[in-house]
Symmetry: C2
Subunit: 485 residues, 2 copies
């Protein structure tokens, strides 16, 4: 297939896959397999003091936590100054991981439906240890086997020219509150439908429709899967009307999601270039200055040999873990992880305008952002970090989200952040739809956008943050539970 | 007009303006006025030693050149390391100007045709002193009147909400070889056709068709105008075929430019998402590390009180000038400027594929780039800086461009870089069209794109460099010389 024809194939293949509630197996069969894979391997995770982590050390001159090889990642300090939000300046630990890794799905059309090769992957920070991950989830240190392990399976399809057709390859940011300018490649590559490849024990083919079903459950699909799935677009299909009926009449919200993902630009409340202009103003208006400093220079943070923590117990704690996983490239290892304050909320408010579902997007500064401002969900916060609980302290839309009546809730689940860096870090992912007649007061750093517009921005790096991308991927697709594949 | 309707109005208004060879006045009338404005004011520029520049000093501890207020810009040193190109590491002076300024056109429909308010503006580095500039060309120090001058006229239309409709507002990079991560806002704002405003002596309304005519001449239209004009898109119009005949049958290249600017995505040699994937690979493959260092620590650079220059006379020299301009906010001032080696070439090779004109785009690292790699013209170099003149030293396509036969040349003029920072800096801007049958060998960091695809990338910041944007703006539009408005 020439690359000029790729765009026609891609959107249709994505939609057909999204409308497939079963693939080479049913989702129930997947769940049985998934439970079996979790049981088949030996996984152990124990907390250990940072001071005793094998392979890692706290640098005496800086207090930074570094690997003996100088690779992987380091935890250091930053001083932050910004005119965004109620706190003009602070200092905090942050993960510095300058290497660009690959989060990638291998895809193949099987019986005419595009399938994605998922992995049942253990990460030491996962609350349930094993979650559904992309085919490949590899740091640059993995590629180059710094840790002495074997090369991750299927990596050659992503790295070697000509082994597979590249369908998506984007640089995307990760948590700006925890990582300093971290980015990964989000990839989807495709092999011809007649190519036969060996499927490892921990790997299985799923359709997009099946992944959407699994995203309705708590903590099954990992963060890396969600971010790669956010690159899936249906825009090239033309407007929703041209698609004809999809047997989703009993699923008005799912139908509205598809309508928003395919909405013509004249149905959007804001022209796309106006959204670009709005975002330019936000990048000019909100300043972010960061400066790397030694971790031990942070006044409010303490290291006691066990953990690095905030003196008031807020925000997050750096801990150490010792891990065993019989099916990983390296069978046992130790590493630092970040344990965040519990109870985080990641929420979009949406509303129909011109009959099309729009999402209220926030222009938001986070200290590790590569370029100051990124687009974020309507609300992204951890309530326990807001002590004063008054209007000067709480972010906009806090009350609208926290006290939303049940009839507004369209999506509500617990989803995990990356278990290779975060310990038992689950956030409540929430989507509310408010009534068409409601008139919200919208601060200047919020804008209504269709899913199609959001996905247009996702094509380019450092525009949507990972929380926004992940939550968009959770939205029920039109085919959810449908049998009309 | 609601912002949802903006995109329909905009592309049509842009095209109608591009097809208008005359506006409220003819281009000949403009040229008379322009000569008169240049004569009406008193402009003087003299070279002076850096050591004697009023308001500026060379910091004794660093050798950096700084303004006494700490504002405007500073010239400092950087150490550069990259795996792009033949030189893996070097050090050089660079301009650090962290403030984001505005380059903006005020636009208005007059007799149904969109006009742009241009300014006859003097800059001390301009080879001919006065060039056509956007309505507003203002640094943040201008807005805040750091230099004690008056506020630039018309600035309120760009800064005050509701004074004008924002048509374009983008953050765009400037020369990565000279500026450290510099960006400006590129804006077009529009006032209603029935609003009457005062037009200052140095201002005049022109159509896009007239600006295109002036861009066929050497050094009339300044760099800031070219970068703002690069944001003008015709994509929303649908394919060229739907536009009907444009009386441009005698101008096959101009017709081809319009065809490329409106080409449907299935006519492009590379799918747009494939171009995004290619650029992601380039950003991952090419590394750039820079570190700010004191200017006086640069081994190969010397300061003798007069200038800061490379010991071999290559690259560029920092000089001082004393300027008088009777029509500027501040009537006289002194400042440093950069004088580059002469004879720079900025060239695109283009070729028809699938009947559509494609441009050979280079993924290129320049030391001041905000995000490592940007898209650049096919060739961007100063031949005198390449001493060895062999294949290991000369950039790809050097010979194809430098020895192109006259029948391939579609555009050839001298254009100036920004005269507020650069002294007599003119480059040869060149576009060659090679035969459809020619097969060029294309290195991995080059890709063929249509103008529509290039303009799609321009919407997002730090993707196309200023040389590429400026050269695209020079391309003759379909209406050039036509009288069919």
């Amino acid at each position: 297939m020439s690359s000029a024809n790729l765009h026609k194939w891609r959107e249709i293949a994505f939609l057909r896959s999204a409308l497939a509630p079963a693939g080479v197996g049913t989702t129930d069969e997947f769940l049985d397999w998934f439970a079996a894979r979790s049981a088949a391997n030996n996984f152990e995770v124990q907390r250990v003091p940072i001071s005793s982590l094998e392979g890692w050390r706290v640098e005496p001159q800086t207090g930074n936590v570094v690997h003996e090889s100088g690779r992987f990642f380091r935890i250091e300090g930053i001083d932050v100054a910004t005119n965004f939000g109620p706190t003009p300046a602070w200092s905090q630990p942050i993960i510095n991981q300058p290497e660009i890794g690959i989060l990638g799905f291998l895809a193949q059309e099987i019986d005419g439906v595009l399938h994605f090769l998922v992995q049942a992957k253990m990460e030491p920070g996962n609350i349930n240890l094993v979650q559904v991950s992309p085919t490949v989830q590899a740091t640059h240190s993995n590629f180059t086997q710094v840790h002495g392990g074997s090369r991750p399976p299927y990596l050659e399809y992503f790295l070697d020219a000509g082994r597979a057709q590249i369908v998506v390859d984007q640089l995307q940011s990760e948590q700006g509150a925890r990582f300093l300018k971290k980015r990964n490649r989000n990839m989807i590559v495709r092999i011809p439908s007649d190519e036969s490849i060996r499927i490892g024990d921990d790997f299985l083919w799923l359709t997009l429709g099946q992944l959407a079903q699994l995203l309705q459950r708590d903590n099954v699909v990992n963060m890396d899967t969600r971010t790669v799935l956010s690159s899936v677009r249906f825009a090239g299909l033309g407007s929703r009307e041209s698609l004809g009926p999809l047997d989703a009449a009993d699923q008005p919200f799912a139908e509205a999601v598809l309508g928003s993902a395919t909405a013509d630009s004249d149905k959007a409340l804001n022209d796309f270039d106006s959204a670009v202009s709005w975002f330019t103003r936000m990048r000019v208006e909100f300043k972010l200055e960061t400066r790397s400093v030694p971790l031990q220079s942070l006044d409010a943070w303490e290291y006691d040999g066990q953990t690095i923590h905030h003196r008031d117990g807020h925000y997050f704690t750096v801990i150490g873990v010792s891990a065993v996983a019989s099916n990983r490239e390296v069978g046992s290892w130790q590493q630092p992880l970040i344990e965040s304050a519990k109870g985080g909320i990641i929420a979009f408010i949406c509303q129909r305008h011109n009959g099309i579902l729009h999402f209220l997007v926030q222009a938001r500064v986070e200290p590790g952002n590569f370029d100051g401002v990124e687009m974020a969900p309507t609300l992204q916060c951890t309530p326990s970090n807001h002590e004063r609980r008054d209007a000067s302290d709480l972010p906009p839309f806090f009350n609208e989200v926290m006290s939303a009546p049940p009839e507004q809730i369209r999506y509500d689940s617990l989803q995990s952040e990356e278990g290779g860096r975060f310990y038992h870090d689950q956030n409540r992912y929430l989507v509310l739809e408010i009534d068409e007649q409601d008139r919200l007061e919208i601060p200047a750093n919020y804008l209504w956008m269709t899913i199609r517009q959001l996905k247009e921005f996702i094509r380019f790096n450092n525009l949507l943050n990972i929380e926004a991308r992940g939550l968009i991927s959770c939205l029920p697709l039109a085919a959810l539970g449908s049998t009309s594949a």
